[in-house]
């Protein structure tokens, strides 16, 4: 395949790879950072990457169901952000810290 053609003809693969890259960055954020807020932001990034994949397949198949599903994912992400931030606030109130490495009470 001509490299330039692949660069200039945007198709399904480009959007899927973009979603993969964003998901990978989100996973790296969850694994590498110790701050609970950064971890929540990385989870939002991963949910958005999943949404991007859903919308790409919806566009490829000309099927609206992918977009309906992405809408539901956005609603679930909003609920997740609210609950996650509430947990972080409660955590900070009890431990005066948002460092996830200090939360090892249930660690084996």
């Amino acid at each position: 395949m001509d490299f330039l053609t692949a660069l200039m003809t945007i198709g399904l693969n480009h959007f899927l790879v973009l979603g993969l890259v964003i998901f990978g960055i989100g996973i790296m954020g969850v694994f590498l950072r110790r701050n609970a807020l950064i971890t929540l932001m990385s989870i939002e990034l991963m949910l958005n990457a999943g949404n991007l994949t859903l919308l790409s397949f919806a566009r490829a198949q000309h099927d609206m169901r992918g977009q309906a599903l992405a809408f539901l994912v956005i609603a679930v992400a909003a609920a997740e952000a609210a609950i996650g931030l509430a947990i972080v606030v409660g955590l900070f109130r009890n431990r005066k810290s948002t460092d996830l490495d200090e939360l090892n009470l249930l660690r084996f």
Binding site: V21, Q67, I74, A78
Partner: protein, 240 residues
């Protein structure tokens, strides 16, 4: 530890077959949709903005900087949704993510403003080596997907119909086929609201004996009488 070892083993056995796949893939003539989905410059500019924003988000030590670059990422993603002819979803993305969720994040960051001393979690060299290996493997797979032809994924040719992604199309699904998930999401949001209130509620100091737990309330009925009497007096004063 055995899990990590088996993972390493599968990665090691996977690499030769992966290289064989790549060599095979070079011989397949490329078949891509000749009609581009969108202008190439728009995709590349927005993809660069999105990936740069995501990288800045996970590397900033300053939390406000991280939130602001996350806003940039979400705007880039909304534009990419618009490129995918999901116009309604693009608007919702800006409203919900770049609006509501980000305000919530900024609020919490302002409340808990703490600099962290050591932001990175990985300290053991074994874990660092494993993580680097995983990232390299991921990049190899991405490059394989980008630069070598694969059997095309099932898709329809041509541009979608003009009303694809409009509000009426989505609403039609939500009020016919997807009615149950739609209502279930409303119940989920209600539960999330109640849960957030319960989790962040502070237990106030009791101002009256009635606010105490039942086993700590005084058994003496006289205290109760006196309290209600005071209430009645207050009512009387207000009435006259």
């Amino acid at each position: 530890m055995t899990g990590i070892a088996s993972l390493m083993g599968s990665a090691a056995t996977g690499l030769p077959s992966l290289l064989a796949q790549v060599a095979q893939a070079q011989r397949i003539p490329g078949k891509i949709d000749p009609v581009p989905w969108c202008p190439a410059w728009a995709f590349w500019v927005l993809a660069a903005l999105t990936v740069a924003g995501a990288l800045v988000t996970i590397t900033r030590r300053n939390l406000i900087g991280a939130v602001m670059s996350l806003v940039a990422t979400f705007f880039g993603l909304a534009s990419i949704y618009a490129l995918l002819s999901a116009h309604f979803l693009a608007a919702i993305q800006v409203l919900v993510y770049a609006g509501a969720i980000m305000v919530l994040f900024v609020f919490v960051v302002m409340v808990l403003n703490r600099e962290e001393e050591e932001p990175w979690s990985l300290r053991s060299p074994v874990l660092k080596a494993f993580g680097t290996g995983a990232v390299v493997y991921l990049l190899v797979r991405i490059g394989e997907l980008l630069f070598f032809a694969r059997p095309p994924l099932p898709q329809r040719a041509g541009t979608p119909p003009p009303n694809f992604g409009s509000v009426s199309e989505i609403a039609e699904y939500f009020f016919t086929k997807f009615l149950f998930p739609f209502e279930a999401v409303s119940i989920l949001l209600l539960i999330a609201v109640i849960g957030a209130v319960v989790l962040t509620r502070t237990v106030a100091k009791p101002t009256s004996v009635h606010d105490l737990p039942l086993d700590q309330q005084p058994k003496d009925p006289a205290a109760d009488e006196g309290d209600s009497g005071a209430h009645a007096a207050g009512h009387g004063a207000g009435g006259h």
